[in-house]
């Protein structure tokens, strides 16, 4: 993995996905450069996962193309993975009845070639390849901290470890770009923090990362660049600071102040009045939300 080249790992040009009359993703351009962590945020239903599915070939985009290191990808999931893009799923999709080690070994599928004949004949080449796969898989389990659970069934792992295992499994295909779909959903702050470390470690290995997440603190800590998707369109793209201060983003998450909403001075008056006497409730929600800014988690905003 060379991090010195400036040519992007992933180039999505004008990706559009329509389901009948509904345009879920509209003309989205996105570049991911080597060694970069890019975040993709947006309100629920903005089309983030649909965009991911377009990137990984699960959906065939209605228009536009996706290229990996300059080569346009065919819309077949296994070919996309073979090319070097690996992904995790928003709802964990492990092979529940396989062991942790086997899950990672399945991830090695594209990087090994042994077919049925070599499996039946069990030549030295097969044994070597199998041993190498196992060694690499154990290395990845070590890396994600699951090595001591290699023989457990993946469905018996606790939630946080299942998420980690999904990442280990995706890394097993030696990807140049890793797509993470809400890797910290349902995690407590400690686990989120650990995931953050893990993503940094993955970046340091030379793998670019594109991550969808709702946890704003996580995203802004982590990402070099953040793209905001709203109603299928890319609203803004830039560093954390740029995105955080962009009014359109705030509006997309929190809504625009409605007509006749109390302005700043009025709000101050109201607050003064509240402090003085009756607890009034006018426009409180909007105002509070706006003041807390975009560092608040989306759940708070909605």
């Amino acid at each position: 993995m060379t991090t010195t080249t400036t040519s992007p790992v992933l180039t999505a040009t004008g990706v559009t996905m329509r389901f009948g009359g509904l345009t879920a993703v509209q003309a989205v351009d996105l570049d991911v450069h080597p060694g970069e962590i890019v975040g993709l945020i947006g309100p629920n239903g903005a089309g983030k996962t649909t965009f991911f599915n377009c990137l990984t070939g699960l959906y065939v985009p209605t228009e536009g193309s996706v290229a990996y290191r300059g080569t346009v990808l065919p819309p077949k999931p296994h070919l996309v993975t073979q090319a070097g893009i690996a992904r995790t799923f928003q709802n964990i999709r492990l092979f529940a009845n396989m062991t942790v080690l086997e899950n990672v070994l399945v991830g090695r599928h594209t990087r090994t070639k042994e077919g049925l004949w070599s499996a039946l004949l069990r030549g030295p080449g097969f044994k070597r390849a199998e041993a190498a796969s196992k060694a690499r898989a154990m290395e990845l389990l070590e890396f994600t901290g699951l090595a001591d659970k290699a023989d457990h069934l993946s469905r018996n792992l606790p939630y946080g470890e299942q998420r980690k295992l999904e990442i280990a499994r995706a890394l097993a295909s030696d990807p140049g770009l890793l797509l993470l779909d809400e890797p910290t959903a349902g995690m407590n702050p400690q686990e989120t923090r650990a995931t953050e470390e893990l993503v940094f470690a993955i970046r340091d290995l030379g793998t670019a990362v594109l991550v969808i997440e709702h946890d704003m603190r996580f995203i802004f800590n982590l990402c070099d660049r953040v793209a905001v998707l709203v109603q299928g369109q890319k609203l803004v793209e830039g560093t954390s600071e740029v995105v955080q201060s962009d009014e359109r983003v705030i509006a997309a998450y929190l809504g625009t102040p409605f007509e006749g909403a109390p302005g700043a001075e009025e709000a101050a008056e109201v607050e003064a009045a509240e402090a003085g006497a009756t607890p009034g409730a006018t426009g409180g929600a909007t105002q509070d939300g706006a003041q807390r800014g975009t560092t608040a988690r989306t759940e708070d905003g909605q």
């Binding site: 296994h78 092979f95 529940a96 009845n97 077919g115 049925l116 039946l120 069990r122 018996n156 097993a172």
Partner: protein, 584 residues
């Protein structure tokens, strides 16, 4: 109770230290009940030899009494083990009460079944001798006492380290006992259903009792640590089977079991590993059988060629493979139930095509409903399979020859199954079965991998079919139906896989054996076979959805609660247990 002290969590208050006097009394009563049952089998249960088996003699047990005798002994011995008799404690590594209940119930059920069968068969209770009454009463005692006993189920304790020769001897002994039990079942009188029903009851209860006592887990630990020894033992057991049969028809049962078990194992690659429901699998068996018959040099064959056996087998396999690819290629791109429907259709189309390729409705290939008879006997290097041959003083008839040949095919299929299943491609199959979307996202070409599984399954069925055609010396279309009273049919094969346990080697072998043997021995069941299949499968889904032989994955499910892989468990080497084990 030294064994209990090592696992304090599971020990009940009453069990810690010395057991309550009431418990000891109940256990002693159970042992006495077992002994009484043993004694009762030495009495006559009925006065006439009309009832199958000889139950009329004082002085030694016969027929169904033998089953009561064995279970009575087992009840007594396990009760003594529960009483902490030195040298017997190894019998109950995970608690005695549940095992005792099962043994007592088994003794009771077999005895009462016999007594009731005597009364019903011979019209009236008057046909019972006093021995029968005594047996009925005394076998009820252990049932009552064991259900009053407190449950002493405990986690499996660590076994004492035995020298490896002793462990290998144990494996050999287990296989010898297994061979004896199977032989006993196969050699029961096919004209009367009573002995076989009694046998099934006894084996069923005894097997559950062994599981509850923890002995099965013990043995599977041993077989896991001596894999090659186990395989050799299994192979030897299978090879010597025909030499123990005094009737050729028993060996024939063995051949059929071997064939259907092999085909079921081939289907298990498709259904159990790759998760593709194939409801027309028997058609691939038919393709192989018809192909082999056509090139066998049969006088009825429309093709005037005579291939040597190996070439006929390869041709059968290859033609089956082609059919597999032709059927699979268009349908495996779809997900869900489409494949089941297409294969169901293919199975029927195959049968109808064979019926109609008779020269009048279609081109003359298969002789229609007459099939292809007179397939000449196999000859390999001048060894004619239909002649009787003598190997080292033991003669093997035609059935024995075919049994050994079929066993070779079974071994090859077992080898293919285990090697393919435990490899990159096998993992890809399981991944596709578990979650196809995630599997393709891991870079697995779902269509390709599924097609390989489907084609491999078809090829193996074709090879088995080629051997089967020679064994039967005739092929007719009506052998290859979707569901019918006589195996093989697709329902039979799928049921064997599901009943035995999907994704395992032992499962389909056991499933096919049971499903073939039970209707063969209980001929009155023949008409109700499909009904019985249905009932059996419903009960199985309710009580043991993983099948009789659970998959390794399902076993692993219990790993976190299981004790043996928890490192640093206390009391790994318990002196007292060690002593008793060594004495045993």
């Amino acid at each position: 109770m030294t064994t209990d002290k090592t696992q304090p969590t599971a020990v009940r208050k009453a069990e810690a230290g010395a057991p309550a006097p009431r418990t000891t009394l109940l256990r002693a009563l159970t042992a006495a009940g077992g002994a009484a049952a043993v004694v009762s089998t030495f009495l006559a249960w009925t006065w006439t030899a009309e009832f199958p088996g000889d139950l009329t003699v004082y002085g030694y047990p016969g027929g169904l009494q033998l089953l009561t005798l064995v279970l009575g002994i087992a009840t007594g011995v396990f009760a003594l083990a529960a009483l902490d008799l030195k040298g017997l404690r190894w019998l109950t590594p995970s608690g005695s009460t549940q095992a005792l209940r099962m043994l007592a119930l088994g003794t009771f059920a077999v005895t009462w079944f016999t007594v009731i069968a005597i009364a019903v068969d011979l019209d009236g209770l008057v046909n019972l001798e006093p021995g029968g009454w005594i047996a009925a009463v005394v076998t009820a005692v252990p049932v009552a006492t064991t259900f009053l006993l407190p449950d002493d189920t405990r986690p499996l304790c660590r076994p004492k380290e035995l020298p490896s020769w002793a462990e290998i001897l144990i494996i050999a002994a287990v296989f010898a006992v297994g061979l004896y039990v199977v032989n006993y079942g196969i050699q029961t009188d096919a004209d009367h259903p009573e002995p076989f029903i009694g046998y099934l009851i006894a084996v069923g209860f005894a097997a559950v009792a062994l599981v509850k006592a923890g002995l099965i887990s013990r043995v599977s630990e041993l077989t896991n640590s001596y894999r090659s020894v186990t395989l050799v033992a299994a192979l030897i057991t299978a090879i010597v089977f025909p030499f123990f049969q005094d009737k050729s028809s028993f060996t024939e049962l063995g051949v059929n079991i071997a064939i259907f078990a092999t085909v079921a194992l081939g289907l298990n690659i498709v259904v159990g590993l790759a998760g593709l429901l194939d409801l027309g699998y028997v058609a691939f068996l038919g393709v192989g059988a018809y192909t082999a018959a056509l090139v066998s040099g049969s006088t009825a064959s429309t093709i005037d060629v005579r291939f040597p056996f190996w070439a006929a087998v390869i041709t059968g396999g290859v033609v089956s493979l082609i059919f597999g690819v032709v059927i699979g290629a268009p349908t495996l791109r779809l997900r869900g139930d489409y494949l089941a429907i297409v294969t169901l259709g293919f199975g029927e189309i195959f049968r109808l095509a064979m019926l109609n390729l008779d020269g009048t409705s279609g081109p003359s290939v298969t002789n229609g409903p007459d099939g292809i008879p007179n397939i000449p006997p196999l000859e390999i290097f001048g060894f004619n399979f239909n002649d009787e041959h003598s190997v080292g003083g033991i003669s093997l008839d035609s059935n024995g020859n075919y049994y050994l040949l079929m066993l070779l095919v079974t071994v090859v299929v077992v080898l293919i199954f285990s090697r393919a299943g435990n490899s990159r491609i096998g993992r890809a199959w399981v991944a596709i079965r578990e979650d196809e979307t995630a599997a393709t996202a891991m870079g697995i070409n779902g269509f390709r991998v599924k097609l390989i599984a489907f084609a491999l399954g078809a090829t193996l069925a074709g090879v088995a079919g080629a051997v089967w055609a020679h064994f039967q010396s005739t092929v007719v279309p009506e052998q290859y139906v979707f569901a019918g009273p006589v195996p093989p049919n697709s329902t039979f094969l799928v049921a064997a896989v599901i009943l035995g346990g999907m994704g395992t080697i032992g499962g389909p072998l056991l499933g096919a054996t049971l499903l073939y043997l039970i209707p063969k021995k209980l001929e009155f069941l023949q008409d109700y076979q499909l009904l019985a299949f249905g009932v059996a499968l419903i009960l199985l889904m309710r009580f043991r959805p993983e099948g009789i032989v659970p998959n390794r994955r399902q076993q692993l499910e219990y790993h976190e609660t299981g004790q043996l892989d928890v490192p640093g468990a206390t009391g790994l080497k318990d002196g007292a247990v060690g002593v008793t084990k060594a004495e045993a």
